[in-house]
């Protein structure tokens, strides 16, 4: 007998038919002798409908009232799912975030969970109920309704799994697991049976939009085994868990992530003296522009070049800021490029294998792909290349690191 927290996202509960399908799945699990707490999101489209109403009433809606409004979305789903379970003869009881008592701080629209009072849920499960909890929402100490921000339902599920010491937290979504890379780019991309929290975080932050990064961090912190599965087809999905040191051979690379949302900007010939990097980045961050990769190389003649990447939407703003700085710093010139892509290989196995980077660069070189920027972390190597080579780079690296399972020497 297992005890799982099972989370179903907006698409999985998007219509009454899909809610019925979720009820079938949950009931089958219970009929097999297991216990479950189910966490649901708002029906897909509902949150957008509510946001439109708010925007029609007020340009910049009051955060406290926005939370009161948006939290109704999940509340509708918990009620409907419990009804669907009840109509199948399965006892079920719904909880809003406030009813569980998922206590958060008071940062409306992006609150953080502080504690969970799991006593009532435990009692309901012991009494034979399936417990259905509204994701994405909580309550602050004063009783104000709060919401957890984008992807908050995943966080609710993981936090409940941690508080209830569940055997596993299962995230049902519209894909059947985490892949070695995007199957739309590489036909032979393979579903991973297992991946570590750290790898998943690197994959998630690079655009594999399966799981919200915050919930993965949370699961890692509390060591909650997390599984990504499909709502629409049966299968084992991908288990995200701590590194299994008992396995003799770790794969060097677990997956290849990429994105083409970024642009790069470079200021050339700035004085190579202390303080220059912060003088360049300060006005950028003051303008609320998020910076991803930053590269500064060893300089010549007391001058250096400074390059960073930003989201493409911020490219023009970033260029304007650098052009103003060019005069101020007496820099040589400012150049930029929006036609770039970032490709990363991710794997805990590369920690102890210095050869991974070499293999990556060699393979790209063999394909005639020029590397514009490089940045590394313990379990990730990212390169920026010309956008037009993205698919070629991903496919050849996928093959080079034998991710499809077809060895190549």
């Amino acid at each position: 007998m297992a005890f799982y927290v099972q989370k179903f996202g907006g698409t999985s509960v998007g219509t009454v038919e899909r809610i019925a399908a979720v009820a079938d799945k949950v009931k089958a699990f219970r009929d097999a002798g297991h216990d479950s707490v189910v966490v649901v999101s708002a029906m897909s489209g509902e949150t957008n409908r509510l946001v439109s109403l708010a925007n029609a009433v007020m340009e910049d809606p009051t955060p406290r009232e926005m939370d009161v409004l948006l939290s109704t979305g999940e509340q509708v789903t918990i009620a409907l799912l419990c009804m669907a379970l009840n109509s199948r003869g399965c006892p079920a009881k719904s909880y809003t975030g406030s009813q569980v008592r998922i206590t958060t701080d008071s940062t409306h629209t992006k609150a953080r969970i502080q504690s969970i009072d799991e006593g009532n849920i435990r009692a309901d499960i012991a009494a034979g109920n399936v417990v259905v909890v509204a994701g994405f929402q909580g309550v602050d100490e004063l009783g104000n309704i709060t919401t957890l921000g984008r992807g908050g339902s995943d966080t609710t599920a993981v936090a409940l799994a941690a508080a209830l010491k569940a055997d596993e937290c299962q995230i049902y979504t519209d894909v059947d697991g985490v892949y070695t890379t995007d199957p739309r780019v590489v036909d032979s991309a393979r579903r991973l049976d297992k991946i570590t929290f750290e790898e998943m975080i690197e994959m998630a932050s690079l655009g594999s939009k399966v799981l919200q990064i915050r919930s993965v961090e949370f699961a890692g912190k509390y060591n909650v085994p997390l599984r990504v599965l499909s709502s629409f087809q049966d299968g084992p999905g991908t288990l995200i868990t701590t590194e299994d040191t008992s396995e003799m051979e770790q794969p060097l690379v677990s997956g290849i992530a990429f994105n083409r949302d970024e642009a790069k900007v470079t200021i050339k010939g700035v004085p190579d003296i202390p303080g220059v990097a912060s003088r360049i980045l300060r006005p950028v961050s003051d303008a609320n522009i998020e910076v991803d990769m930053i590269v500064q190389n060893t300089g010549d003649d007391n001058q250096t070049d400074f390059t960073f990447t930003v989201h493409r939407n911020d490219y023009k703003k970033a260029m304007a800021i650098l052009e103003a700085l060019q005069v101020e710093l007496g820099a040589r010139k400012v150049v930029g490029d929006t036609k770039i892509a970032k490709v990363s290989i991710v794997g805990v196995g590369m920690r102890s294998h210095a050869g991974v980077a070499t293999k990556m660069f060699e393979r790209l070189s063999k394909e005639g792909i020029n590397i514009q920027m490089i940045s590394t972390s313990e379990i990730k190597i990212s390169v920026v290349i010309d956008e037009k080579y993205l698919e070629l780079a991903v496919r050849s690296l996928h093959s080079a690191f034998e991710l499809s399972g077809n060895s190549e020497l």
Copy 2:
């Protein structure tokens, strides 16, 4: 400086434009130096949308979950109205029934209010806020969400006005007050400036669908002055309050109510012995048929006739029950008629004026209208007549009792 509880129904908050109009009205009231607690219903159409979702999921939805579902309707409105007030520079704070703590019993879908914790609301008002409360909903002692049933938002408003000792409870609706009778039937029907709780209850139960009868009873019990006003035009509305004994002359009759939803059924020639009435009515109530007027006259030859009225939708069922009883009781025959109407005159003034009934019957007789049944209470006289004379009866009685203000002797 006055302190009012102001309730706006579903039509008054049916669109974002109308919510904006309500915000303008509430803000103007506050700018004039008054305090207010605003109670709102779900946007019109929203409750039906939610009920449809529930029915699509489960034939006979679980009452507890139905309340979780339906209570989201008002929760959306409180958030949007607070945003609209905030965008006008008016501080406002929303409360769900559970946040106020409107404690009810646990009878889901038709719970009764037991107590209201008004401390937080008082503090918010003292701090300069308009407080916006979700109508129709509460919470039981265990923290389960409950709803108060049809017209529950009126009840919420009255209960809050009683708990907060408000100067007045104002119910904004789509009519501008309570009329002497339906203006669609009598052109000269007049808006009443004032009516007693008792009169209003008799009027409400007879089809003047302005206020929910339960909220009027509640207001009467706690002596909360209640005013019905239009959301869409300015005006004094109708004040519903206790009988003002200081007024020398009470009008004999305050209004004329009527309905044409009923049918009458008669079982003739039943034994005139104790227990017969209950033997007739028991199977009727067992079949969940509500009975309105009941008339049994003094019998002849140890036999009597027994007549009652039911809703027209229940006519066939009631006739079938009586036909079965006819055999059992050895009654002479069963007859029925769906083409009837009930007309009632209502007024606290008639208590001390025996002549009112005479005047009513004389006038109907003068118009050639035959009276089929009569039933009276302290402040009401109802008659059943042929449906085709309904308008004539209402108009002539309206005139006879000088309700349009044009005296007739």
